[in-house]
Amino acid sequence: MNKYRLTIFLLVIALVLGVYACATAHERADGKYTTILDENGVTVFVTGWKVEVGDEFITENNKRYEVTGVNGEQAIARFISDVDISMYTPHNVTEVELRLGRLFGSQSADAQGGKVAIYHTHDDESYVPTDGAESIAGKGGVLQVGNVFASTLEAKGMPVIHSLATHDPHDDMAYERSRRTVMDLLKEQPAAIFDVHRDAVPPEVYKTNINGQDCTKVQLVVGKYGPTGKQIEDYALQLKSASDQQHPGLVKGIFFAKGGDYNQDLHPRSMLLEVGAHTNDRASAERGIALFADAIPTILGQTSGTPGTPSGTTGFGTNGAGPSGSSKNIGWIAGILVAGVAAFLFISTGSFKEAKGKLKQFGSTEFANFFGPKKKTKGDNDEDDTQEKS
């Protein structure tokens, strides 16, 4: 027994240490950033943190790339395709589309009031030139950027809920803590929800000049593997398209991050924004987010009557544009469910015959508790209940 306990103890210690070691290896190296080059050696994207093979991004010019190799602070990316962003441009709907939309349950934009919720998962993020530090727990400069975003939207007549909830410390569980803030905000039924951050790269990456004023660009981040990732991707393209029409060059690009859903699974119009970097001054980040706010009313149907739906008013897809992100996600969820059930049956039985037997048993007795077992009296049913408890 002692040997047995010792083995367990050693295994657990090894596991904890393994997590620790693996984690330390990923720890952020301050001041380092990655420059991503295309096949011809031209810089196409710069990002503050380590990238990995398989990461995807869409550049300012709507070109989609996938990282194929990483060498220190440089990465090589393969050009995948040009994204036809015009497909995502909000448009004035025809009467037929409007009726179709109503038939399938879409309400008019006025009914919801276009309320926007803003929060900050990393509320400590700050801008060094103006705030004096890159991280100020609970009082980061990014909160001020959120304030400007909120006031600009309010000036456009959109109600805003700006949460100043803190989620410190700035760690891996911050998104799980901010998830709780998001759920609180959702009770107010916002039409869109934004998680406002800042990046960590040299100033020139985000610095730009639009309409004669210096400001920072804005990067959109999509949780690639979130359960609604494809649908959020559509939404990100709509946002970029709307912003590109009004202020070309303002949106730096879209980064498809692999590490989670960033709480984007909780609302179909949620987006993570990186407004400038810690090396930019906060005033220019505030000007950048104010310009970005110009795109929001278009997206939420305040000016065009309906949200831009990438592939038809119903959002399922069209022949021309193919399936929408929502349809793709529905397919993925259904596919994973079927594959999961098949894998479980295979692992637990190992043969087609037994799997079939187990499925049959599932169909006939598993829901006996709801409906009463097939061909059994009530008395037998109670026995089934006690058995299931074991």
Binding site: S106, D168, M173, E176, R180, M183, V221, G260, G315
Partner: protein
């Protein structure tokens, strides 16, 4: 809300699949189908109720659906455990999961560009594996997942209170979609996967004389004879009994 029907259907499918899978997993936690559904209903309703606990030195609240109900279920499972050793293992697993979450959250990459896996999954899988190694039990995995995250939240509160950082600890604040609930479910699934695979590798569970009626021969089962009465017996039987506590 003004949403195209595609988005609405996606949300409905997502929620149905989530609660459907939840029901199947809770079904394994000494609950009948009806009881599992009632627990889900309670979690959903409870998601809307948050109880404030303290405001000083740092804000601490607890959500009924996201923490209290799952924690009650976990504590009930510990209470209903057949033997003390099982209880000890479940509690030990919870503490180890809490330590893993606190350490992991500190050292795992936390920027969107560098995170490699959703924390909800990482800690759920960690809880499942730790609890399975510690107790070789799906119930223990669930207890580890739920209480591990709750303990780590309490640890977070203590950290905030001591370091003077302003912050809010809202245990289970995201209700049915909180990391507490999801980690518990992922933990059962991970333990289930490991347990079923191991049983398969060893050629099926050990058969005993008191096999409950209705269980298929490949299903795991409880063999009262194998209950460990003493350390000595356990050591000598450890090879034979490996399949006994997998529920």
């Amino acid at each position: 809300m003004n949403m195209p029907i595609g988005m609405i259907v996606l949300l409905v499918v997502g929620v149905l699949v989530y609660f459907g899978v939840t029901q199947r997993l809770l079904d394994r936690m000494r609950l009948t189908d009806k009881q599992a559904l009632m627990v889900i209903a309670a979690i959903i309703v409870g998601s809307f109720i948050t109880i404030p606990i303290t405001r000083t030195p740092s804000v601490l609240t607890i959500n009924v659906g996201g923490a209290i109900i799952p924690a009650i279920l976990a504590i009930w499972l510990i209470y209903k455990a057949d033997e003390t050793a099982e209880r000890v293992r479940a509690v030990l697993a919870s503490l180890l999961v809490a330590a893993t979450v606190l350490l992991g959250s500190r050292y795992l990459p936390y920027e969107p560009e560098t995170m490699f896996m959703d924390p909800k999954l990482i800690y759920g899988i960690a809880a499942g594996l730790i609890a399975y190694i510690a107790g070789r039990s799906r119930r223990s995995a669930f207890v580890g997942g739920i209480l591990g995250i709750v303990f780590s939240d309490i640890g977070h509160y203590v950290f905030l209170a001591q370091s003077g950082i302003s912050g809010v600890t809202s245990i289970g604040g995201a209700g049915a979609f909180d990391v507490v609930v999801i980690a518990g479910l992922v933990a059962i699934a991970a333990a289930e996967l490991v347990g079923e695979t191991r049983e398969k590798l060893q050629g099926g569970p050990v058969l005993g004389p008191h096999r409950p009626e209705g269980l298929f021969e490949f299903s795991e089962e409880l063999d009262p004879k194998s209950k460990r009465s003493s350390d000595e017996k356990e050591e000598s039987n450890s090879q034979i009994n490996r399949g006994d506590e997998n529920e």
